[in-house]
Amino acid sequence: MFRKRLVATSMVVAIIAAACGGSASQAPASLAPGDTAAPTEVASNLADEQILRIDIIGEPPTLDPTMASDSNSIAVLNAIHRPLMYLDHDLQAVPSLAESVDVSADAQTFTFTLRDAMYSDGNPIVAGDLVYSWKRLMDPRLAAPYSYVLDVVQGGPELLALAGDAAATDATIDAALANLGVSAPDDKTFIVQLATPATFFLTIATLWVTVPLQKAWVDSSGFAEAATYVGSGPFKLTTWEHQSEIVVTQNENWYGDKPTLTEIHMAMLQEASAQQAAFEAGEIDLAIVPSEDLARVTSDPVLGPMTQKVATFSITYYNFNNATGPTSNLNFRIALTQAIDKQAFVDVLYGGTGLVANSPVMPGIPGYDETINPYPFDLASAQAHMATALQELGVASPADLGKITFGFNPGHEARVAFLAEAWSQAFPGMVFDQISAEFGVFLGVRHSGGYTISRNGWGADFPHASNQLFGLYNCGGGNNDSIYCNEAFDALLDQAASEPDQDKQVELYKQAQQIAMDDAATIPLRFGASTVAIAPYVSGVVVSPDIAQNVGDFWYETIQILKH
């Protein structure tokens, strides 16, 4: 999750636009973002009751925007807050609470001009509230999980470092906070000073952690509960029955166009099967179809037509331990990679939903390159590489390697069994010790390199190649659980970070991926996708790959309920 500072000198808005504009052409047509499920209907066809019923898959751990870090919470926060910038239906960052944004020539000073807007309690939204909420996010005493997204801001790295220093006094922390590069010369102007230019900074300003907050509200006790909640989105939090249901209703003080929906009822179902059952029983209007139910649902004459596939910005991949064990041998990793029929993996384990992955950056994000595939499925070549690898490792047969540890957490048995069996078939004598460990234990062992092969996955925080590579493949990266290290790769990431030209930068990211994949650092398997079911009377759902919890939950305000 650590990102390298990415550098650009100009045209940040245009770059992001170009970045996301490229997505539609790169993603397969069936998964293209920006489509809406149905055209906007005329008022005469609308149902009298404009209530959308969805499932947010469990109790949000918190609705304090600063502290939230999970998709349950974000699904709600998207409805009840609105940051300076927001993603449009093509996933471009466009001004939202900000009326306009001015980027300095060196792309290090961002000046946001706020529109006339109010919170749900009627108080005006002023630039000082942003200074407060951004400093709050960076306050080491709060230790907000997503504070690292502001590490590009001047003074940000110092504050993040202070977080690890338990001995830091309040005075030191307050002084460091005073140095954070955010200021509000007047109520309408919010200025951010970056430590280094960053191409993706406007995308950061779309994140839920950057919304304005009133200090008086935050300081009141129990502020993040429904009774006292104050937001700034198209909807406001009306009821929050813990572990049961959240209801948001239209926010009469919302500065934008009034949404058609009057209420959204958010259930907290905890099982995929429960969500599907609730959808089929007509209790909720949107559902993600569990892969076990795919064949039944898609072939059903009633349910089938309600479904469509939506790509998610996520990847399933498996780590090879690059530091120790047989997987530290390049030919061994190549052999393992070439022995897997990835299309069969996607077909059998995900009912064919999703795309075969051969590199880390997902389709739809600039830097995705379908030509990066150095080791396609080829059993003969795999066996040849294995023969070389065994020679290099000084053993006669795969059996002499002993049991190869293969770690995962419960829920991944079938995928692991698929891979282990494919490898055992390709390389007779190879035996795996399939270790199903409790999630928390698994994460620790995986991170410390305790498994030879282990399960992994990544979902994009924001649609930029840096987020899918930095931290995951660079030497010593916080999420580099393959313990992969290649200085040429690191050099290319550094170079990309300081490359002002968008096309060149994307090219550098592609070259970096080529190196990591030539090294067979990991084995990418599948780019994520879901089959979603949308009730036929729900219109205007924006189908975009970047779903938080449900399809369309970034843009509840476009949804309408038709007569039914």
Binding site: A163, D165, S244, A267, A274
Partner: protein, 306 residues
């Protein structure tokens, strides 16, 4: 009797102490922590969070602080998962749905299980016995999560009689209660049947029969009363299991109870919530066993406590 009861009740305190010390120690011996995520947090953030919640202190010190909070302020500490809420709030919100579900399932299990067992025993080796045995075998072999899904598919999705989820009134209570009661119904029926068969052969029953007492009177006054003694032994644990062990049912029906925290808090290393669940469980079992012992003395006059 009164002294005995007070002594037994006070004994719950050392039980809770021992249970909490062992659980607390084991819990901290488990690798991982509340901040472990698939996407790792920066190490500095983890260190700060540990310091903020005192998780960087030695385990015994953490235990003393935890006990101190409970004893002095009745404060069970913060939740590491639901960061804005205290463990006390979460438990207070969720305890009633869980207790209600457990007690309803318990009553259902008794109301069906005991008659089922009695009928089976009275019709020993004839069709009522086979029917009773068949029902309880199906009940025991079907895991609650399978029963729950089947109930939802049939009665919610297909027939539309009951909602698939929630806890908002009697029509939402029906399916979870049945799903949870399935196993204990069978369990109680089996025990009752066995125990009834046992007393059928007791001399006092034969004597009663030979004295010409009406059959129903023998059954109700002598047999059932005596047969229930061993059954009562297992009612305590069954109720405790129902009140605290409903986590799978709560998950499938999305019931806003505390049962799911029983497993979830371990996975999330939500230490405060985990300890609260431990204490609740331990107290419930200890207390219910005490009740069982009192019931024992009431049903079986041969037992006297002093």
């Amino acid at each position: 009797m009164a002294t005995y009861l007070i002594r037994r009740f006070l004994w719950i305190i050392p039980v809770l102490f021992v249970v909490s010390v062992i659980t607390f120690g084991l819990m901290h011996a488990v690798p991982g922590g509340p901040w472990a995520r698939e996407k790792a947090l920066p190490e500095a953030t983890v260190a700060r969070l540990n310091a903020k919640y005192g998780l960087d202190k030695p385990v015994h010190e953490q235990y003393i602080n935890w006990v101190g909070g409970i004893v002095t302020r009745f404060d069970f500490g913060p939740s590491y998962k639901y960061v804005e809420r205290s463990v006390g709030d979460i438990v207070a919100d969720g305890v009633w749905p869980t207790v209600q579900l457990g007690v309803m399932a318990f009553l259902l299990a008794i109301l069906i299980g005991i008659p089922l067992g009695v009928i089976g025993a009275l019709g020993h080796n004839r069709w009522p016995d086979y029917l009773s045995t068949a029902i309880s075998i199906v009940g025991i072999s079907t895991p609650s999560f399978v029963l729950a899904i089947l109930l939802v598919v049939v009665f919610s999705v297909t027939l539309g009689w009951f909602p698939t989820n929630g806890w908002k009134g009697p029509n939402t209570w029906v399916l979870p209660t049945i799903a949870l009661a399935g196993f204990p119904i069978s369990q109680i029926a089996r025990y009752t049947r066995a125990s009834m068969l046992e007393v059928t052969r007791r001399d006092y029953v034969r004597t009663a029969h030979s004295k010409g007492i009406r059959n129903t009177a023998v059954v109700t006054r002598h047999m059932i009363r005596n047969a229930l003694i061993p059954v009562v032994t297992i009612l305590g644990p069954i109720l405790a299991f129902l009140v605290t062990g409903s986590f799978i049912i709560e998950k499938i029906f999305s019931i806003p109870g505390i049962g799911k925290f029983y497993v979830q808090s371990i996975g999330q290393r939500d230490y405060g919530l985990l300890m609260a669940m431990t204490l609740i469980y331990a107290f419930a079992v200890a207390f219910l066993n005490l009740i069982v012992d009192i019931l024992y003395a009431y049903i079986d006059p041969r037992i006297r406590y002093s």
